[in-house]
């Protein structure tokens, strides 16, 4: 363990600016601190800078302005890059782009193998990582025969085998069916409960409602930032940012417009409970 690894602050963006072409700033003065063990959801319309921001966390992109520090280490410091990447793992959108081996155990072992982890320890790590994503006993299966959701979980296992402390998901559920999406989300929640810091980039509001913090980007700036019940209930602002509030919020709003005195809920279960209380008096 390095001294930096004991820091509570995992990710620290300071006035970060980034441009691909030297003109348009895709990130424009981002100040963002993510603490250990949090589950942060990054939302924003297409082109708002979400993925660009994610790629700064593990030094796939480096800031043109300001700085990004991960575990206290500056991402621009070449000596830190290795340390940062082995501690901040990333899963991307397309399941078919990320698997490198035909056998699942080889795929999951790819990262630790490159780190020079001894064989015994590696086997153990692969077994543990597969268990963490709910794919126990899948070692000898072939990757091509998996569903999209399973492939994404293998990709996560590959990251977990590196024993990282931050897991970044860049629209990792965008290409999955509803069941695959629910499975992926469950895995993220479990990992977070075990202490993993999760940064999730998504368009799906129902996913965001499970995070403990939601950050909304607009044109490379932070437009909204707070707990889901504060951010996701701002139906009109969200619409202005090309997003749509979760269903429960929209229904709450429609009811309020019709004179039904309900609070604005993020969770469908909470809204249901209030409606039952309100209406079962008949």
């Amino acid at each position: 363990m390095t001294a930096a690894a004991t820091e509570d602050i995992h990710i620290d963006f300071e006035a970060t600016g980034f441009t691909y072409d030297g003109e348009a700033f895709v990130l424009d003065g981002i100040d963002l601190v993510v603490e250990e063990g949090s589950f942060v959801c990054i939302l924003g319309g297409n082109g708002s800078g979400k993925s660009t921001l994610a790629k700064h966390i593990n030094a796939l992109l480096l800031p043109d302005e300001g700085r990004v520090a991960v575990f206290g280490a500056d991402t621009r410091d070449e000596r830190s890059v290795y340390f940062i990447r082995s501690n901040a793992g990333m899963v991307f959108q397309n399941p078919d782009d990320q698997l490198v081996a035909s056998l699942i155990e080889n795929d999951v072992a790819f990262g630790p193998e490159n780190l020079g982890v001894p064989t015994d320890k590696m086997r153990q790590r692969v077994t543990e990582a597969l268990a963490q994503v709910g794919l126990q006993g899948f070692e000898k299966r072939e990757t091509h025969a998996l569903s999209g959701g399973q492939k994404q979980r293998v990709a996560i296992a590959g990251v977990l085998a590196m024993d990282p402390r931050i897991l970044i998901l860049d629209e990792a559920s965008a290409m999955l069916d509803p069941r695959g999406r629910r499975g992926l989300l469950r895995v993220c929640c479990e990992l977070n409960a075990q202490g993993m810091t999760i940064v999730m980039i998504t368009h799906f509001m129902e996913e965001a409602s499970l995070a403990d913090r939601v950050v909304v980007l607009d044109a490379g700036r932070i437009a909204l930032d707070g707990v889901p019940s504060k951010v996701l209930t701002q139906t009109e602002q969200l619409a202005g940012l090309n997003l749509q509030a979760p269903f429960a919020c929209r229904l709450s709003g429609e009811l309020q417009r019709r004179g039904v005195p309900v609070a604005t809920h993020v969770s469908e279960d909470d809204l249901k409970e209030e409606l039952c209380r309100l209406l079962s008096k008949t």
């Binding site: 924003g44 319309g45 297409n46 082109g47 959108q93 569903s147 999209g148 959701g149 629209e171 965008a174 290409m175 999955l176 069916d177 509803p178 069941r179 695959g180 368009h203 090309n242 997003l243 749509q244 269903f247 929209r250 229904l251 429609e254 009811l255 417009r257 019709r258 004179g259 039904v260 469908e268 809204l271 249901k272 409606l275 039952c276 309100l278 209406l279 079962s280 008096k281 008949t282």
Partner: protein
């Protein structure tokens, strides 16, 4: 131009043979039948009617993509027939005709852009059909207008310089330039933000209003409920349900079993009904549910 599936089964292990194609008959294939688990499609039997807005739902691997590739002869049934306009498209000539009439837009179609300019990309299909340069030009103009792209702004640019949403529009235009009468779209709004989804679904509704038959594959039950006349739900290659949104979404349990769901408003309505609230049957969207709940509330406080 109706497309009829007649007891279609398909296995990637036993695709239709050339010989069969030559004879133009759809007899079952000789030799041992493929093992039961190998059927990607099994006993698919329905007819896509003219002018319909038709939805297809199903979990990953349920056969959705395999099915839509049968609509214009990219794949041929192992058993059964696909008739486009009454003609079996196992016949090569008919398949070619079907291909010019049934436009297929695959998932993430922007990955398939290839030409140096937007113009050349959209013109590829019409040129391949052997149209004269004037006619090709007219097709490209019209197709770009249909997807709300400004011809002069984009035609000379490389498609790869455009934003993701614009790239997808160009890909749509490439298919529309073939002047299809049926448009089949596989997850047309996957990966787009809610505002872009709305724009694209608006475009697609516009194509339908202009008279195109539209088939849309989607995981989004809200979209399917709002847009479609009928919905086909596939389960492991077989037809689980076929009916109006109201019929299909009345089976929440069965849909959940196959990893799908029902539209959010319907889910909430069912759950409130389960809790004893007096809601009528039928399909709910957000506005109708709010209306019904408000009526209950105002009746209660009166």
């Amino acid at each position: 131009m109706p497309i009829a599936f007649e007891d279609v089964s398909f296995s990637y292990h036993a695709p239709a043979t050339k010989k069969r194609a030559k004879k133009g008959v759809s007899a079952a294939r000789k030799g041992a039948p493929p093992p039961p688990e190998a059927w990607a499609l099994k006993d698919i039997d329905f007819c896509l009617e003219d002018g319909e807005f038709f939805g297809i739902a199903g979990h990953t691997g349920s056969g959705k993509s395999t099915l839509i590739q049968h609509t214009n002869g990219l794949l041929h049934p192992t058993v059964g027939r696909v008739l486009v306009d009454g003609q079996d498209i196992l016949d090569k000539k008919e398949a070619t005709r079907a291909r010019s009439k049934v436009g297929l837009v695959f998932q993430y179609p922007e990955y398939q852009l290839f030409a140096a300019t937007v113009y050349d990309d959209v013109a590829f299909g019409p040129r391949n059909m052997g149209l004269a340069p004037d006619a090709v030009d007219a097709c490209v103009h019209e197709a770009l207008a249909q997807v709300a792209l400004d011809f002069d702004t984009v035609q000379g640019r490389s498609p790869f310089e455009l934003s993701g949403g614009q790239q997808r529009r160009v890909a749509f235009a490439g298919v529309l330039a073939m002047k299809p009468s049926v448009l089949v779209l596989d997850e047309p709004v996957a990966g787009l933000d809610p505002a872009a989804r709305r724009d694209f679904l608006g475009l697609i509704t516009g194509f339908h209003d202009e008279g195109l038959t539209v088939v849309i594959v989607s995981h989004n039950m809200d979209d399917l409920a709002r847009l479609c006349d009928r919905i086909l739900v596939l389960k492991e290659g077989e037809m689980l349900m076929l009916g109006t949104p109201e019929e299909v979404f009345s089976h929440e349990g069965a849909l959940r079993e196959v990893g799908l769901g029902v539209p959010a408003a319907q889910r909430m309505a069912n759950s409130l009904k389960g809790a004893g609230l007096d809601l009528e049957g039928g399909l709910y969207d957000t506005a109708r549910l709010a209306d019904s709940l408000a009526a209950l509330y105002h009746a209660a406080v009166r």
